[in-house]
């Protein structure tokens, strides 16, 4: 199991008590996200769909690479890896 940092986007920080980074343990992206969901109930509903895949308006990056271009949720993670959850954000002008 590797120690992994997950960067939480602003819109989801209501689930993490405002924390912008959460430390978890896991050997794959999926395990790390599951650990995040266990620590902060409800957050994964915004990241994963009913079938367990990454939602279409969310991307998950390992370092600077989108996991969709690696092995998806099965991508293995090394110690001190950084995962970023990046949802689509509309805000700009009004």
């Amino acid at each position: 199991m590797a120690n992994v940092t997950i960067r939480i986007p602003t819109p989801l920080r209501s689930f993490t008590g405002g924390a912008d980074e959460i430390e978890v343990r896991g050997s794959t992206v999926e395990q790390a996200l599951t650990a995040l969901g266990e620590q902060h109930a409800g957050i994964l509903d915004y990241v994963l769909d009913e079938a367990g895949g990454v939602r279409r308006f969310v991307n998950v990056y390992l370092g600077d690479r989108n996991i969709a271009t690696l092995d998806g949720l099965g991508t293995s993670v090394e110690d001190s890896a950084v995962l970023s959850i990046v949802p689509a954000v509309a805000g700009g002008a009004e």
């Binding site: 209501s14 954000v89 700009g92």
Partner: protein, 389 residues
């Protein structure tokens, strides 16, 4: 004999002279043609293919124009006298093969060699854009590109305000602004194009007033419309670059889809509280095409999963940072310099004062820009929440 004549005779013994016709032949074989006359002389015409470097700056600027001192140089002035002095200076500077053109531009023209009337900046433009002209990467050529450019800004709000303001200052000749809103007092915390005494008037009218007060020489084209599937392509046609500063998903998808269809670079920015993102979506780029918005996010979130409106908000300064990063990308694209943010997402975290770069890759199966994709049409997504900013 005057000292001038004596000196010119000395120079003629050491500097090789060529006729305009021979110079034209040498130029076609790769020799650099340098015109050292004054700007007002060049305004009337210049040899086709010639680089204009005014005599006073010749030694300082020649290296930018001709970096290899082994490249043969052909120097031209009006009559063939100043070019002899200039040629000697360039030889002293280290250029091995420097020739002076006999009879200068006068004889070049009389001999029927090709001439063009160059686009040059007028005195007011030289003064206004002087700090651009001193940057070799921009210079007069780059400034003319900016003056000829047409940039369409979607939204005259938090992001559009700083972008449009600086693009007007930079001399982008035509700015289009799409916004159907009116100025509200709550906008003024960040939307710096507008003013307190314009609360209640259209943002397009307010923006035009501010931009033309800063730079009366540019044109502002306003569209007091909300983008939809019917008008988006009509409004987007004929622009060089699109700047997306929208505040809602339906507009962002329309901006993306029309930019993909028309092959336009889409300079995208978004803000939320203390965080901002910038990238350039440009699948139509000739070399190294990048992804489009839909490669990343094929569809907008459903209302129940979008961040709630009540939670939204933005640090007023933040869209300033993000909108100006967008403006910098626009200038780079228009002048054709640097490495654009294509295929890269720059994330700015104001609280940590940290920039993070993520790699964005094209999705070859993207419905809109994927390999062999047939444009599926525009979609009017339901407007459920106008988030923040």
């Amino acid at each position: 004999m005057s000292v001038k004549k004596r000196r010119l005779e000395e120079l003629r013994r050491t500097i090789e002279e060529v006729t305009p016709e021979d110079a034209w032949g040498l130029h076609k074989q790769g020799a650099a043609l340098i015109d050292v006359r004054e700007p007002d002389e060049v305004a009337g015409g210049i040899a086709v293919g010639a680089r204009h470097i005014v005599r006073g700056f010749l030694e300082l600027k020649i290296e930018d124009a001709v970096p290899d001192t082994g490249t043969p140089l052909l120097i031209m002035c009006a009559s063939g006298a100043r070019s002899l002095f200039a040629a000697e200076d360039l030889r002293n500077l280290g250029y091995d093969d420097v020739k002076s053109i006999v009879g200068g531009f006068g004889r070049w023209k009389d001999d029927g060699l090709p001439v063009e009337v160059p686009r040059v900046l007028n005195a007011e433009q030289r003064e206004r854009y002087g700090r651009h002209l001193s940057i070799p990467e921009i210079g007069e050529e780059g400034q003319i590109k900016l003056l000829d450019a047409r940039v369409l800004l979607v939204g005259a709000g938090g992001l559009g305000s700083p972008s449009a303001y600086y693009l007007a200052a930079a001399g982008v000749g035509t700015l289009g602004i799409v916004d159907d809103d009116v100025v509200d007092r709550s906008n003024l915390q960040r939307q710096i194009l507008h003013t307190d005494d314009r609360v209640g008037i259209s943002k397009v009218a307010s923006a035009r007033q501010t931009l033309q007060a800063l730079n009366p020489t540019i044109e502002v084209v306003g569209y007091e419309d909300r983008l939809d599937s019917k008008n988006v392509e009509r409004i987007f046609e004929g622009w060089d670059v699109v700047v997306d500063g929208a505040d809602n998903f339906p507009t962002r998808y329309l901006v993306n889809d029309a930019s993909v269809k028309l092959g336009l670079p889409n300079v995208h920015g978004s803000v939320y509280r203390f965080e901002g993102q910038v990238t350039v979506f440009w699948p139509g780029r000739a070399d190294h095409p990048g992804p489009c918005y839909r490669c990343l996010y094929p569809a907008p979130p459903p209302p129940e999963l979008a961040p709630s409106c009540a939670e939204a908000g933005v640090l007023g300064v933040l869209p300033g940072v993000v909108g100006l990063l967008q403006a910098v990308e626009v200038v780079k694209l228009l002048v054709g310099i640097g490495d654009p943010l294509v295929g890269r997402l720059l994330q700015y975290d104001a609280l940590r004062a940290r920039f993070i770069e993520l790699r964005l890759e094209r999705d070859p199966t993207c419905e809109y820009c994927g390999d062999g994709a047939v444009f599926p049409g525009y979609i009017d997504y339901e407007q459920f929440c106008r988030v923040a900013a």
